[in-house]
Symmetry: C2
Subunit: 388 residues, 2 copies
């Protein structure tokens, strides 16, 4: 059974993270990604640390399995190649500042007129409309402006950034949905679509709970440290050897938790309902920790898991990368380096699917312009067979 | 131009957040979502605060525009209805513990044999394979175990939870990619697919940078507060009236930043390269704040924006919801209540697409079982016209 996106060709002008993350998802689903890079330097992340044997491990995690061709979109010869590629591609991805592609003659209207089936996916800091469309953005700018930072961290301390680059990644993921939906549609309509995803908009889309609270109460939620803002107990607790997590999200789980810890609190009016537990959360935490401090994290995780209560450790990234469940799911894969040497580790594909291979080793990330000859030969081949 | 997923019917057994977030994305792209709920209580989030006029605003933000039918999948009559729905649906979504659907007779193998084109999308805490497949999970459990908490927060303080429920949401988004890719594929192959997304796996997929660092250096990254771990300056700075963000991600931006702040540092060897800046980050922060403390956040955001440097405020959720760029992008929409009253606010659709309507008002979230009569009438209608 071929991969679901086999025969889909994506022409990928994007660089750094949001756009390349989108094309990585499409690649993992079987699409061919032709990365069109700036001659000389290529994608900025080729120079991002950490390096292994002179190659960026960062670049490898996001760009494995893609092809690379270097094209100067202002040089006539390279423009001609680019336009031949456009004629064969199903999807064009770009993450330039709005207006840059128009000035190159490759704006959506221009391209749609010439290549009506082409899907045009754009990701940018603030989107292609609105007063700030032209402003530059990085992950941190949209995490801060978009509200996620304001609800992350500890109360009465400065807000903190989410350690993962969700400003970029989530935008790249929404672009992926748009591209896939447009690919499905073009089979029926024959018309490509323009997809315009903004990193700032995408942050807002993460705020389900916070928007509901703000719109009903008029007050924005505060950061709540390691606690869920409106479910109790749903937070970290101290065991004898450090912190672990208990997430007892409803009354039945709370009753089971009380039984497992031998705490006679399930019928106590101060803790009988979730609103009451939220009101008395600090007291409840002390009562639970009076028990949990008496033994190790692993002990309690075992006891509570046995009782069917969601619980678990707080793992550092090196621990996660050795977690038996993660390894059983093939979620840490090896990306080969040049000549099959210098392998790097990368997150695996979280989309497990019947008929989709999930190998433990992935093809290398391309050297800059490495696939030029093959791509040009392929173009000649498909053009020769084209129906006029 | 119809919406890209018009004519796609999704039978949605999921509840709470990860699965319903996936079907919300599909709904926003034009799919019809038939929410199949437990009789009597329905989706747990119908009882989640905050409430407005007796309806959960939380439920409304995720379930607007969906239809609801209450079915007991253990009762013969309801099973018959469910199977008639399966015969018409393109996609089935479920987020039960692995094995529950098999015990109901609706596991992937059973359904694939009877409905070969049906796509089966499952999202669960730990996935349908591996030693922990049967364990329960909530957002916080996978944020903690999956490593994101370990890199979020301040160094030498306890880790914090990401304020948004990315444990659920990101898994729902990956399920969306899988479903859309399978929908595209079934047009050619005629065969539906089984998609198995785990919340824990999805957390790992967010760790691009952290996995690269851990695999090359052998050391897991630490939380770095409001700083990017390997780009400087890319963090919060104090102005006279509070914190704001500067993200000068490369040498050219750093030179522009120095010019804009009248700081003669661009050629200083302590700050000339990103590695040097990272090494001297605390000193650089003090030198920058010696300037920025002299004026307001808005002043500096204006000055730096003018100079083309990524910068911005740290906004609380109420501020974000009034941000002119957010409003210009229609990223806060009104979800109607029953009878068109009792409107609630929700995040808009971040996937802006040509030919896809983006109204300021969205259809209500359904009352439990509200659409039973229409759904049964529709079934009769399509069954009468079916080719035998």
């Amino acid at each position: 059974m071929p991969a679901p996106l086999e025969n889909i060709t994506v022409l990928d002008l994007t660089h750094v993270l949001a756009g390349p993350y989108c094309s990585m998802i499409l690649s993992d689903l079987g699409a061919r990604i032709i990365k069109v890079e700036r001659p000389g330097t290529g994608d900025d992340t080729r120079n991002f640390p950490p390096f292994k044997d002179g190659e960026s491990a960062y670049f490898a995690t996001i760009n494995h399995g893609k092809e690379s061709i270097a094209l100067d979109l202002k040089a006539p010869d390279d423009r001609a190649v680019f336009e031949r590629l456009l004629a064969q591609a199903d999807v064009l991805l770009e993450n330039y500042r709005p207006g840059v592609m128009q000035r190159l003659g490759y704006g959506w209207e221009d391209l749609h007129a010439r290549f009506p089936r082409l899907i045009y996916g754009a990701v940018s800091g603030f989107g292609h409309s609105g007063p700030d469309a032209q402003k530059p953005a990085y992950d941190m700018v949209v995490q801060a402006r978009g509200g996620v930072m304001s609800i992350t961290g500890e109360k009465d301390r400065d807000p903190v950034r989410v350690g993962a680059s969700i400003g970029d990644i989530v935008a790249g993921m929404f672009l992926g949905h748009g591209v896939l939906a447009a690919l499905l549609d073009v089979e029926k309509s024959g018309e490509g679509r323009f997809i315009d995803v903004a990193m700032l908009d995408s942050q807002l889309a993460l705020l389900e709970h916070a928007i509901a609270i703000t719109s009903v109460t008029g007050k924005a939620p505060q950061p709540s440290g390691a606690r869920h803002p409106s479910i109790t107990p749903f937070e970290t607790f101290h065991a004898a050897d450090g912190l672990f997590v208990i997430a007892a999200g409803n009354n039945a789980l709370f009753a089971r938790l009380c039984a497992a810890l031998d705490l006679p609190l399930a019928a106590d009016p101060r803790f009988a309902t979730n609103p009451a537990r939220c009101e008395n959360a600090r007291l409840l935490k002390r009562l639970i920790e009076a028990i949990t401090l008496g033994n190790s994290k692993n002990h309690w995780i075992g006891v509570l898991t046995e009782a069917g209560i969601p619980t678990g450790p707080i793992q550092t990234v090196d621990q996660v990368m050795k977690d038996p469940q993660i390894l059983a799911r093939n979620m840490v894969v090896e990306v080969l380096g040049e000549n099959g040497k210098s392998a790097k580790l990368s997150a695996g594909n979280p989309i497990k699917m019947s008929g989709l291979a999930d190998p433990e080793t992935r093809a290398p990330a391309p050297k800059l312009d490495a696939d030029r000859a093959e791509i040009l030969a392929w173009l000649k081949e498909v053009e020769a067979h084209a129906v006029p």
